[in-house]
Symmetry: C2
Subunit: 602 residues, 2 copies
């Protein structure tokens, strides 16, 4: 079927059901960042392969809403589909709910797949639609009737992530969770975020690219818990282990009917920002007013890494440091010998080196391998059709990461492939100063990421330059590479940075049509000291990949900054050298120990 | 009457009226920072003279709630009154609304003077009291019956602050205000903040210490406006000038009856955070649902100073620079000659020098003149009974300001009176680095004060030290020395710093029992440039009083910081020298031009 035929089929369904419009959000029932194929409905309908967008179809109109990252790609992919592209963020362009409120006739019926839309999104649309009497109907899996060969749920095995990696037993986490919801006077909780479920139960799988989670819902009551999932993914041993902790398995699709059996003598805890609308409606039918809708307590608890997880992160960054040393050495050699290397070749080489490491699971996201002007697009993704060849000049940016059994990495290095322009060297230095300033921060308990964000920006702001993305995000432990609740951004998020949180620090500078620079280290927040002025926190860097100092403009650097770089590169060398070949270690020495600003000071 | 007798009298009134408790908030009907004597009810009842606190009286209990600034003072002043002191912020101590919710019997009647409590405070109490059925009754001026010789409203003349100072006519401001409320679909507005009224009408008086405003309410309708005030304060000329702009005068007390006559065919705009509860109830009675309760539009508009006001601020700081040069020269000489000078002597000398300047109106707040360990109390106030003598060693802190017809100043300098300890010199340097870092900031439009605050703190945070107050507050133009809506604080206030805003920058460091340091300059935000990265703003320093560089630890300073200090002190000298005597100029030269870090660089 062509997109056009699919839309015609959808309109027939709309006619039959009495719907005036259908919204296809292209998310899954769990608000996941990456989607299994089964829920790539937006792509199936429209042919658009970007990671963000919404399709709206009426009887005489079809449109796709997406953001600036995808304007060019979407325009190309929608060609011939009859769908109009709405460029979000462009002056005068309404988002789809506002567009619908303006363009649909009064008292229209709008159908959504309530499984694939969070409660909070539906609520906000309902408010916007109220004045025109537009109502929302939910039809779970509405696309099933049209998508003949729709992929099934993934059936890869689930496995237990052992105590040696998690440092905290499932029984302990379940006990903590029951206490946490009891403190809010709830007797049960429904979890629908896949990383929260995987964290609570210490289980992992490969259901979703770059996210080693299990597709499931988890209901936890006062003395038992039920995991709604694909039972065949669980072998006898894991099933028994779960049962021993009071966790039963049930079919994924049985949750809807099951809700009616949950004890409703105490309130249930849900997180309406994450829970899908279809399940929420069932919960309301069962619990009435006794629904406690707040951020899941797992969100913060999961972000406060314990000692075992922290050790795992260190180990993962050590492995990644070995991988990247090998990768950058290979790249330098290959370019020196005049080999033809594309951005994709380089990414593939990196992945192949990672796969050699013990405990490697998956990349934690698709690597961004970007040369020259391509790196000026912060979300650039090379494709075989459009992909630059690396030349012995200018800057190459590599943003990548992996899940190991130990922990998850996310690291960006920008390195010179040869001579740089003055602007490139200047910006390279300023961006690094931003990374260092945030890494060196001490701050009193209670300080939020939005207060610290400015430290990473000020070396650029000083010259009236800036980057258009956040400075840092939380990173899950063998879960999602982007996790909350903390962030280092310009928007005012009232979440303090707390000991045990692992947060990226990744300022950048993007010069359109010329070059892009980003330096990213991973920071662990820890308790420094308590004194009469407060309870003091600071950051420890987990990343263990050298910083290339050749582009640095030394006169811009303070003594503190030089000392930071010297200490960092020395520590990288000392940590990695024992596990490198003599040739690799010698090469890393030329990038680190041989190039210190002030070797005497250390 | 002793406090005890006053409380007995109050209890008789409570008995007669059927009240179970009375709250005495000790604020005025306009949420003013400083109070005229008429509204110093808390002090009259309790004998406590602090600037913040609340008294609660029941039939068998009386208590005062206040914060840590006043624990010692309140304990002393309450002695023998039978009132219990509640130390706010101390573990386990409830604030008075929570204490009342816990300790009053169910269905109690609580009486407040609704004129002296903002709507928002009453609303929040009502929520807290609801579960016990406690209700709030409002009795305006309830204290009148007991306070026989209660002071009348001040009768000092009102005067017009001319276009040469305000730069914007009353007619223009009224037209702007009508447009602003029309944009919110309102036809009228009730202003109760005294500085907002003074700003809109370009009038001033001396009704309140340190705040040159007129006690009044202002109602602005679509084609007329009424100023409810003490009419005798307005001479014929000013009355006529107001009338020419459609502003009528009416007696202050007539507003309550007058509300029933205001046109109610369009909604009225009020600011419930500032408007008192008694008037709000009358407004509701007249307008029903047609009340638009939001922050007053005057608040932001008033904070965006125009060119004339900015020139006025410059002139005020120039005058203050002359005054302080004379003051610090006098102090140095007097101490060298062994004169006995107390903290109060010094403050009085400063005020006497200010009074010699053209256009001097008043101090903008009571000067903080604090020597040695006294300066470690950020809100220290010397009294004749408790007042240190200045010695030729250690640090002396002077935080003061004035209203001139041109503008308002607020400045803190901490200067060495002789040898310093290493800690004193180190902290003096760090605090100054904080002031410089914020002063030098560039930032994109949209950045809030809570993002920039950290810049002033980081030189102290670096050593796990901090100060317990905000970094900066807005300053009114011949109005309140503390004004919103902006602030530079650690709490997340979503108000960008905008061009035209005048905000203090005053980091500090307080070492209990030893010394206190604060450096305070006044910063004007201005538009720097617009480029592809945004619309860039920066600060210009308005303050024109030299920074004493003798205590600075030079090796802590960066080149940028030294350059800032050199430029600042050079500019101070060049601005002030023409208006100083040759002796004064020569003395200032020894503090500035003769002590530059790098005279060649300028």
């Amino acid at each position: 079927m062509t997109p056009n035929e699919k839309i015609q089929a959808l309109r027939q369904l709309m006619q039959a059901e009495g719907w005036d419009a259908v919204i296809i959000s292209g998310t899954d029932p769990h608000s996941s960042e990456y989607l299994p194929q089964r829920w790539q409905v937006r792509q199936w309908v429209s042919g658009f392969t970007g990671s963000a967008g919404t399709v709206v179809v009426t009887h005489d109109y079809a449109g796709l809403w997406t953001d600036s990252r995808y304007f060019i790609q979407a325009a190309a992919q929608l060609e011939g589909s009859g769908m109009e592209l709405h460029k979000l963020g462009t002056p005068g362009v309404l988002d789809y709910p506002e567009w619908m409120a303006e363009n649909l006739p009064a008292n229209s019926n709008v159908c959504v797949d309530g499984l694939c839309m969070p409660l909070a999104t539906v609520r906000s649309m309902q408010t916007g639609f109220a004045s025109k009497g537009i109502s929302i109907v939910s039809r779970p899996d509405l696309i099933d009737a049209l998508w003949a060969d729709r992929p099934a749920l993934p059936d890869a095995p689930a496995y237990e992530l052992g105590m040696e990696y998690t440092g905290r037993s499932r029984a302990d986490k379940l006990a903590w969770l029951r206490d946490a919801i009891a403190a809010e006077e709830c007797g049960s909780i429904l979890l629908s975020s896949l990383d929260e479920i995987a964290w609570v139960l210490n289980i992992r799988s490969s259901d979703i690219a770059h996210t080693p989670v299990v597709i499931a819902y988890l209901w936890v009551g006062s003395d038992r818990a039920v995991l709604y999932t694909t039972e065949s993914k669980f072998d006898a041993e894991l099933t028994a282990a779960l049962a021993a902790d009071g966790v039963e398995l049930a079919p994924y699709g049985s949750i809807v009917a099951s809700i009616a059996t949950w004890p409703n003598d105490t309130p249930i805890y849900i997180d309406g920002a994450m829970l899908n609308y279809a399940l929420y409606e069932e919960v309301i039918a069962r619990f009435g007013e006794d629904v406690h809708d707040r951020t899941s307590p797992v969100k913060l608890e999961k972000a406060l890494k314990n000692e075992t997880e922290i050790q795992g992160f260190r180990e993962a960054y050590r492995k990644d440091g070995i991988v990247q040393t090998r990768f950058f050495r290979w790249l330098e050699g290959a370019l020196a010998e005049g080999e033809r290397i594309t951005e994709i070749d380089a990414a593939n080489k990196l992945i192949s080196l990672r796969k050699e490491m013990d405990g490697y699971i998956d990349e934690s996201f698709a690597p961004i391998s970007a040369y020259g002007e391509n790196a000026a697009l912060p979300h650039y993704s090379a494709t075989p059709e459009q992909c630059s060849v690396l030349e012995p000049r200018g800057l190459y940016l590599l943003d990548s990461g992996a899940h190991y059994l130990d922990g998850t990495t996310d690291i960006t290095r920008t390195i010179p492939l040869g001579p740089l322009t003055e602007d490139e060297a200047f910006d390279y230095t300023c961006v690094l100063q931003g990374m260092i300033a945030l890494s060196m921060a001490s701050f009193p308990r209670g300080t939020r990421g939005c207060q610290l964000d400015v430290l990473a920006r000020m070396p650029l702001w000083k010259y009236n330059r800036n980057y258009g993305h956040g400075t840092g995000h939380g990173v899950g432990h063998v879960l999602c590479v982007h996790e909350g609740p903390q962030g280092m951004r310009q928007n005012l998020l009232d979440q303090p940075i707390l000991p045990g949180m692992v947060t990226s620090c990744e300022p950048g500078m993007y010069c359109e049509g010329q070059y892009g620079i980003r330096h990213e280290n991973m920071l662990l927040c820890y308790e420094d000291e308590a004194n009469e002025f407060g309870d003091w926190l600071a950051f420890m860097t987990l990343t263990c990949t050298y910083i290339d100092t050749t582009p640095l403009v030394e006169e811009l650097l303070t003594e503190d900054e030089k000392m930071f770089i010297d200490c960092f590169n020395t520590s990288v060398y000392e940590t990695l050298a024992p596990d490198l070949t003599p040739e690799e270690a010698a090469w890393l020495k030329t990038k680190t120990i041989d190039r210190l600003f002030d070797p005497e000071e250390l």
